[in-house]
Amino acid sequence: MKLITSVIKPFKLEDVRQALAEAGVQGMTVTEVKGFGRQKGHTELYRGAEYSVDFVPKTKIEAAVADELLDAAVEAIVASASTGSIGDGKVFVSELIQATRIRTGETGDQAL
């Protein structure tokens, strides 16, 4: 099993979620995060003083998938999250040794 961790623009969450579901991914966990990267934050004036927001709001999606689903899932994310502009985000993949569904105790691919 693999764990796909991807960081995307927040307003793409709905699209990515749908694309992943179509690719056969049944569950995922989403976190609101702050991103630092090539895309820079913006600068505002508050009472005449500069006020720069360095980070950019991003959304992190974690999805555990069976090995055979990996490529389709990554492609689905890339396709649905891309806007072509800087800051679109990343997809990282790492190995999962084990997965358990708490409710039933099932393990392995059945747990996903």
Binding site: P10, F11, E32, K34, H42, E44, L45, Y46, P57, T59
Partner: protein, 415 residues
């Protein structure tokens, strides 16, 4: 000391206190609307509200008051700047039918807060997507010209007054006026992005801070005692004092009736006691009784308010579901639709009212305000644009228009 002077002082003081209560309604609209928009659009709606109140005061001083209460020929009004001149003590003491019985500057103060109320109605309906300065430009025209002209027709002693149209404190002149201007704006502006799905699904966009909306409603409720109570224009003898008391009691009862009716309607229809509808119900009760708070009994006032509270729930849902008119705070329903109900309800208790004159008033005011507003919104949309860019709408107008966030530590990601 002259008793006429003391009476003049009491009526003036009454006017000033009632006016202060109406001014307080500006805070009510501000809080009501700030609670019903999303966090990312909150600083802008605050700016709009405090800005429009100020603009209304300045425009009404410069020309609005002169138009509304100056010398006109019944249809075309006069014009003039407000000065510091006031009544001479000798005229007051001399007495007689035309003797002034309260300070004319206190009258200005009472009137100016009314025009701000009318404009406040607009800001909620166009929230979350309109350009700030286009809105302010519209405020200049509405408060300086559109409102005072129809105000002159009725309260300035113009043709609508002569035609027997009755509107005690402004269900029509103030509330329906605001509702009509708002409707024109919303029609040109269109719905908020994401409000209606591609297949016509209606989506909810919940307000970010409901305690503010509840506070706003209670502020408006309190302020309305001044709005209606002050519109009796005199308190200095037994009959007038009784009249003001009845007006205030009826105003309170109508609000209570409207609130309970809307609460029950929402509960029965949606299965839950929707707080925002409940609050709109109280306001609907208040709007409904405003055209005639003096002739109904307290029980009838409660019923008039309750009917307003039922109407408002249906109106909000119909506008949203059937007509796809996107009004984030329900202003068009509360002030426009229920304003019409209030004007019609005058015939229930006031023997001087006729359904014909009421309809005449409704149609004239609506047509005048709607058509002129539509024209102004249209010119503005060509001249400077009235809607922010899609991206700015997604990011929130706070950053785009005001450069500040309303709650920088509470929310990080625009929803």
């Amino acid at each position: 000391m002259e008793i006429a002077e003391l009476s003049y002082a009491l009526d003036t003081f009454y006017f000033l206190v009632m006016g202060a209560l109406v001014m307080w309604m500006a805070a009510g609209f501000t809080m009501l609307e700030a609670g019903l928009v999303r966090a990312k659009n909150t600083a802008e709606i605050l700016t709009k509200n405090v800005g429009l109140y100020s603009i209304a005061c300045i425009m009404y001083m410069l020309c609005g008051y002169g138009i509304m209460y100056g010398d006109g020929n019944g249809v075309i009004p006069g014009i003039g700047l407000l000065t510091a001149a006031d009544n001479a003590a000798s005229d007051v003491i001399a007495g007689g039918d035309d003797a002034p019985y309260y300070s004319s500057l206190s009258d200005f103060f009472f009137q100016v807060v009314f025009v701000a109320t009318a404009m406040s109605i607009v800001s909620g309906a166009v929230a979350e997507r309109m350009k700030l300065f286009s809105f302010f430009a519209f405020a200049v025209i509405l408060t300086g010209f559109i409102y005072p002209i129809q105000g002159y027709w009725k309260w300035g002693g113009g043709w609508l007054d002569a035609a027997g149209f009755l509107d005690f404190a402004g269900s029509g002149v103030v509330h329906m006026c605001g509702g009509a201007a708002a409707l024109a704006g919303v029609l040109l502006l269109g719905a908020r992005k994401g409000k209606y799905g591609p297949l016509g699904e209606v989506r909810a966009i919940p307000g970010a801070n409901l305690p503010l909306s509840a506070l706003g409603t209670l502020i408006l409720w309190l302020g309305w005692f001044g709005f209606n109570g002050g519109s009796e224009l005199m308190i200095s003898n037994v009959d007038e004092a009784n009249a003001v008391s009845l007006v205030i009691v009826n105003t309170n009862m109508a609000a209570a009736g409207g609130l309970v009716a809307a609460l029950m309607t929402a509960r029965l229809w949606f299965g839950k006691a929707d707080l925002t509808m409940t609050l709109n119900g109280a306001l609907a009760g208040l709007v409904a009784i405003t055209a005639e708070p003096l002739t109904p009994s307290p029980l009838l006032a409660t019923i008039i308010g309750a009917i307003g509270g039922i109407i408002v729930v249906f109106s909000i849902v119909m506008l949203d579901r059937k007509l796809k008119i996107d009004d984030p705070v329900g202003a068009i329903s509360v002030h426009g639709v229920v304003g019409i109900w209030g004007l019609l309800a005058v015939v229930l208790s006031n023997p001087d009212a006729s359904i014909g004159a009421q309809l005449l008033g409704i149609v004239s005011i609506f047509v005048w305000v709607f058509v002129t507003s539509l024209a102004v919104w249209f010119v503005l949309s060509k001249a400077m644009g009235i809607r922010v860019s899609e991206e700015e709408e997604y990011e929130g107008v706070d950053i785009g228009e005001c450069g500040v966030e309303a709650y920088p530590e509470f929310v990080e990601v625009p929803e």
